[in-house]
Amino acid sequence: MTGSLRSALGYVAVAAAAYYALVVVPRDGDIAVMINGSIYAGYAILALSLALIWGFGGILSFGQASFFGLAGYVYAIAGINLGDTAVALFLAVAASAAFAAILGYFMFWGRLSDVYLGVITLTVSLILFRFFNQTAGEEWTIGAAPLGGFNGIPSTPILTPIGHPDQPLSPENIYILSVMALAFCYLLCRFVIATRFGRAVVAIRENPVRAELLGYDTRLYKLGVFVIGGAIAGLGGVVFANSVFVSPTMFNLQTNGQVIIWVIVGGLGTLAGPVLGCFAMLALSTWLGSLNGVASGWTDPNLVMGAVLTVCVVTLRQGLLPTVVAAGERLIATLLRRIRIQKFGQPHAVDEPL
């Protein structure tokens, strides 16, 4: 199958998913589904940010949740103090991008190797976790916003329409906006990797030495894609803050580890794969959490997630999406050959093994 056809089918699949999420689900009007859908969308945006910087930029950020959580907190604090959450949204995304720029500057200009990059990003995320975890008490109040320590900020404000800070959006509207934010981020990533900048980023992933010898300052390109990833993760954090509320768990080890699992299971090097991986793993852990009886002892979500990851790494080397796409292509090729055989009454190409 040609690349352009595959790309067109990809857009059709994305459009179908968007139609289902934006038209079919709201028509059923199940509020629980929609609230869960917003949470999934927030996490999926986080997965997308890692899909971009790791899958295309080759930067393994083990602390992608730093930007997710930081944007959540900035959104909540700014929202409570300013009263206008639309402004808070922009501040939050800008703050996570700025934080990614500062962190990225030190990492890329310091010429850190990949392993240290993972260690440092994870450490930064865990420092943020520790910090926000101990912010219980009156002294940790920014303006009118108490940071709340381990409990987070349960009074995280809900988005309001621009100019109407006194009318918070309904869960249905938050759901629609969350799905649209996910679609927007997906298209943004597609756009970024299609630009010259994006092609250079991919080339740098393939061979940084060659890219430098051709005149690309690899530090600058890595920083660029890292900042875009930070901003996207930040938007995911704001979506999450609107669906649940902000708390230090946004930064913790489990969140950071999960994102990496979603990307690996869904397919590193693709954009839609990690989103699917995120949905599949979240659905699986929700289902496992709802089991009771004898089975529940053996179906600890973490245990099962670990098993799924292991199976994926060992058997589906490339992850779910690339495996499914490859299988689909083989099927189509076989069907086409059958049709040709029927048409001409005899096998077409003898040298082509079935």
């Binding site: 010259r196 092609r199 061979n207 060659r210 430098e212 005149g215």
Partner: protein, 241 residues
């Protein structure tokens, strides 16, 4: 000193790795449109010397001047943008990209889109690998990968091209074509070639510089240098230690 500085001048270049001196004070000057061959046994410091010229290594001491401007200490990408193209010893290519995409990456770095596209196509035609444009670089044979890397370098039309063992892994016909290509390149730019293949050197060489143990052992016209007894000894391993 002449009115215009030489294209490239190395002055007393030294590179030490810990206690090991890989290059121990090399001075060399390359003029515009010159073809220079560097030869010498393994470990003589040729590749290290190249890496200092291209900015991949920071010299311990000494200076590199490009048209009179000091470039030692500049970032490799900045040196590349000043017009120095490098083909590394083992093919350094983008394995996951197609041949055409790879060359587009090279031309994109220096040209606007429509020109970049044309220049990339021209480079592939010039290297006679236009038929491989859509092939994934990682799936190609060693010699073809060498040509892909060369296409990337040539497509940027640099003023100086450093070729580190370009003929390695190529078939006889490919080597012949490479020789013609290098002679063709020298009409528009200067080329420094590191090579072990003496047959190849004889084919293309004009001026030859011989490296041994990190210093220049001999320099001069090809025929003269190759009949030098010291050079023969170095290559045959007879040198008294």
């Amino acid at each position: 000193m002449s009115a215009t500085p030489p294209l490239l001048e190395a002055r007393g270049l030294v590179m030490r790795f810990g206690g090991v001196t890989a290059v121990g004070g090399v001075s060399m000057s390359i003029g515009e449109g010159e073809l220079r061959c560097l030869i010498g046994p393994n470990g003589a410091g040729k590749s290290t010397f190249f890496k200092m010229l291209s900015g991949q290594l920071l010299p311990t001491a000494g200076e590199v001047l490009l048209r009179g401007r000091s470039i030692a200490g500049l970032h490799a990408a900045s040196i590349a943008r000043l017009g120095v193209g490098v083909k590394t010893q083992t093919p350094s290519v983008f394995d996951g990209l197609s041949v055409l995409e790879s060359v587009r990456i090279a031309t994109n770095a220096i040209l606007p889109p429509n020109l970049a596209r044309r220049r990339a196509d021209e480079a592939l035609e010039r290297m006679q690998i236009g038929h491989l444009a859509k092939a994934v670089v990682g799936s190609l044979a060693h010699g073809q990968r060498q040509l892909v890397e060369l296409s990337m370098v040539v497509s940027q039309a640099p003023d100086l091209i450093l070729l580190d063992e370009p003929a390695a892994g190529m078939t006889g016909r490919e080597v012949e074509r490479l020789g013609d290509l290098i002679i063709d390149l020298v009409r528009t730019c200067s080329v420094i070639v590191v090579e072990h293949d003496m047959e190849f050197i004889r084919r293309i060489a004009r001026t030859v510089t011989v490296f041994n143990r990190g210093v220049v052992l001999a320099e001069g016209p090809a025929a003269e240098v190759m009949s030098d007894a010291r050079v023969r000894d170095v290559y045959l391993g007879k040198e008294a230690a």
